[in-house]
Symmetry: C2
């Protein structure tokens, strides 16, 4: 058995047809490089016939030194009733000068007669002519059989004729597409197998959409039926419900089925690259995303946490590190006390589970959770809750007051800022007040707070925020709703996450900002003086 499956990524083409997805040229270059690092073999990077910017992109990226990947341009068969050489789309494809070209055509008789409105014979000729024309230009052609499964179910002999037309034209790979995404996985598998039997020794690809939530499973079913190329997009971006998520496909093919689908590159890059791509694309990876999500190996039920403690494989189908992810044990009501106790022991090793302090700490946690706190992503704030509750905590500073002033037009017309913030704190018996400006009230407050504290705690100079997230809770109250602010901070070496919840976004941000600073000072082993209060 040949143990290689080729991955074909269409993030920059089909993926950009997803709602809310749009890429700048710089984004596109970054994504090409990320895909190449991952070990993906083919990158479909644009549709130069429908988007002139894509042609530009191909011209610009021709000299990119890629280690594994080959760029592919994508376009339609020629228009009806003209010669291939007169077709502007095909001319753009040739002008993009990619080593490989994807040409898509119609497999479903209904699309031929009712959508492009031509004869079944002319459609076959369009396919054959277009593939031949592009092959003659020196590019290898993969033929995308659009709506293949719907077409095969409606009129199998015509659907097969379209594939044969592409082969006559010179296509080297036939890609069977579930364009509407509604075909059951078993059907995708059985039709792929039939095509393989009817056209032996022709490499088949599979291209699925997720309209019934089965795009990945259908891709795997096609591989089990003989397909050797899987098309998909990073994070499953794409038209409607999206395409097959290539991260999931790669995880299954490599970790569960033993295929090499990454040109020998390590699957351990999977999680890291997915997060990079999410950043470039400005989307959030669902925390439940298979293999790569932050919850993918997060255990919450008490029995699960217990089982994983005894043997990770009891509740994990693979080792999380094999895909670059990590195991997490979550604190919550469901998890029971064992895990919380572990966390408490990091701060106060002497407390046992029946200690009244432990019990009241559990109560406080529940109360905070009910208010909208969620410590699963803000473990540094959780440590501070423990310290405060156990009175192990002496604050490093006390807020006397803060004030934020926003105005439009801004007081200083030459400044980029729109807000000023004044912060007065008391540290070691001394008062200090300062002001700072920023783009927005939170930015101004963040600047002012660190400015006023740096004189007392110079170690804070290295701290800066790397992420700021706002989640509006119970949106029914609209602008008076509660908001949850999550902040990630770094000092260049370690990173930590803190949280604040309030109806006032400024106060919620303040809580998360001041927790961040307290956490850093504790981590650095700095001891506040007794009179800081």
């Amino acid at each position: 058995m040949n143990n290689i499956i080729d991955l074909f990524d269409s993030t920059l083409r089909d993926g950009s047809q997803g709602e809310g997805i749009s890429f700048s040229v710089e984004d596109k270059v970054k994504i090409v490089l990320a895909l190449d690092t991952l070990g993906v073999k083919y990158i479909e990077a644009g549709n130069p016939g429908s988007n002139p910017k894509d042609l530009e992109f191909f011209q610009r990226t021709r000299d990119l030194k890629l280690k594994h990947a080959k760029l592919v341009s994508f376009g339609s068969t020629r228009r009806k009733n003209i010669a291939a050489s007169e077709d502007a789309n095909l001319a753009s494809l040739i002008a993009s000068k990619t080593e490989i070209t994807s040409i898509f055509g119609k497999s479903w008789d209904f699309h031929v007669t009712d959508i492009i409105k031509t004869s079944l014979g002319e459609n076959l000729q369009m396919i054959e002519d277009s593939v031949r024309f592009v092959c003659d230009s020196g590019s290898e052609v993969f033929y995308d059989a659009e709506h293949f499964f719907d077409g095969y179910l409606a009129n199998p002999s015509y659907a097969m004729e379209t594939l044969k037309a592409a082969l006559r034209g010179g296509a080297t790979t036939l890609v069977l597409c579930d364009t509407r995404g509604g075909t059951l996985s078993e059907t995708v598998g059985s039709i792929t197998r039939e095509v393989g039997e009817l056209l032996p020794n022709i490499p088949l690809g599979i291209h699925t959409h997720d309209d019934i939530g089965c795009a990945v499973a259908s891709s795997i079913a096609a591989v089990q039926a003989g397909a050797v190329q899987v098309q998909g997009t990073l994070l499953g971006f794409g038209e409607r419900c999206g395409n097959a998520c290539l991260f999931s496909v790669a995880g299954i093919l490599s970790a569960k089925m033993g295929y090499d689908c990454l040109n020998g590159q390590s699957l351990e890059q999977l999680t890291g690259i997915s997060r990079k791509v999410a950043e470039i694309s400005n989307v959030r990876i669902p925390h439940t995303a298979p293999f790569i999500g932050v919850s993918a190996f997060a255990h919450k039920g008490g029995m699960h946490i217990d089982g994983v403690g005894k043997s990770p494989s009891s509740f994990e189908h693979i080792d999380p590190t094999s895909v670059g992810n990590e195991r997490r044990l979550l604190m919550s009501e469901v998890a029971g006390r064992a895990l919380m106790l572990k966390r408490i022991h990091k701060v106060a090793p002497e407390l046992d589970k029946d200690n009244p302090l432990t019990i009241s700490l559990m109560e406080e946690l529940k109360k905070l959770e009910a208010e909208g706190y969620q410590f699963e992503g803000a473990e540094s704030s959780f440590d501070l809750v423990i310290r405060r509750h156990l009175k192990l905590y002496r604050p490093f500073f006390t807020l006397v007051h803060y004030q934020t002033i926003g105005s439009s037009p801004y007081l200083d017309p030459l400044s980029d800022a729109s807000h000023a913030a004044v912060v007065k704190v008391k540290v070691k018996g001394e008062s200090a007040i300062t002001a700072a400006e920023g783009e927005g009230p939170v930015n101004a407050l963040d600047q002012a707070l660190r400015k006023v504290l740096e004189q007392f705690y110079p170690t804070l100079k290295s701290v800066h925020l790397t992420d700021y997230k706002v989640r509006v809770l119970d949106t029914a109250g609209a602008t008076a709703s509660k908001v949850r602010v999550l902040i990630d901070s770094t000092d260049g070496e370690s990173t930590w996450s803190t949280i604040g919840v309030s109806k006032d976004i400024i106060e919620a941000s303040w809580l998360a900002l001041s927790d961040s600073i307290e956490y850093k000072l504790i981590a650095d082993g700095i001891v506040p003086s007794d009179d800081s209060n």
Copy 2:
């Protein structure tokens, strides 16, 4: 062929083991009622042995009048080496007095020997005893064969013995669980078929997890192999990557396979109920969610929009209204000009696609999109962009200045507010200034803006906001990053959505708020006077 498949929902049990998911008692009651309305047959509502609050919940909900659904309590087999009658978990199950009880036990020899650390024989006895004990109390028992697929692959004869032990005890349905979620769908199907052949005429259920993104497909594969009950959770909540999403399962079984899985209730409720459940659970439905997501029937590629215009089935696998969802045609670069022209024609019917104004409007749209605007969810703001660009727009008011003042402690210690806002506007040559307070700066600004304008435009009295969303763009800049604010407004009859983008959350909110007001005034046919500027 029997065309009924029973749905078994575990949102309140397995679902609550998902990261970030927690339900209050009120939430739980609402979800039970939503499931009953949907037509789900079984609702697993808690684990009374591990969580005393769940027992309380069963006692409290015993008198709920449900039309279709039966409540199910869930718990483990007895502990090793004690009598079933001495087991506290089983006692809680019986005390919850549900008509049906789910009892789970170990199918995988490795879990018996290495996790619960007992003999293979004692495990069989634990299963048989526990099922019999609960059956004897008068409850019907469904037996959940935990880790069945992993167990069957490791030691098929032992896995089958565990099922037979449950049958000896009196279980009426055997539920095969892919607890780690790592089994390929084809394997789930083939093992389910083998079990059905080994134990003919025993109803089988399927319970899958989504760790390789195939939970729904595996559930369907099991049904194709003979399973008659599908377990899952609403929106796929659950441990790690979650469980099979029951909305997707119901959509496929009903709309694609012709089963009745909703007790005769209409599938048209699917989208509405999913959004209600998301609200109760305080989660966002991924816009790409199959069947129910806002993008599930959203078309972006120009060719797709064209095809759907000719015949919706060209790019839609089902009619969106059959699941209570709707078709959307998205405006974007990819969509080409046809759709934008449609939108423009609503405002200016005389403009054609080659008009310089149309072309420059396209340019402006691209510029705004590059700045972070996304009109796909804010079509009212898009209409205003068109009107402004075509000079068809005369503003209803001009901002002279606004100022927001936030302070902690707040100036008025008796107020719930934390911010004050001052807004000065010019309307019809007249200036007006007012102030208002709010919980947070945006709330204060919203109050002040509507207060100052209501004297000129009394129709605004009926307007209020129903949703406020904040998205931090390019988070690398942390608190100085761009934010996108989306606002939904209503006047009690219609609703509209507007957008603002800025580095300053207050300014972004201001832009969305003032667009909302402008849009309402235009919709009401109010004509601003010439000198409003």
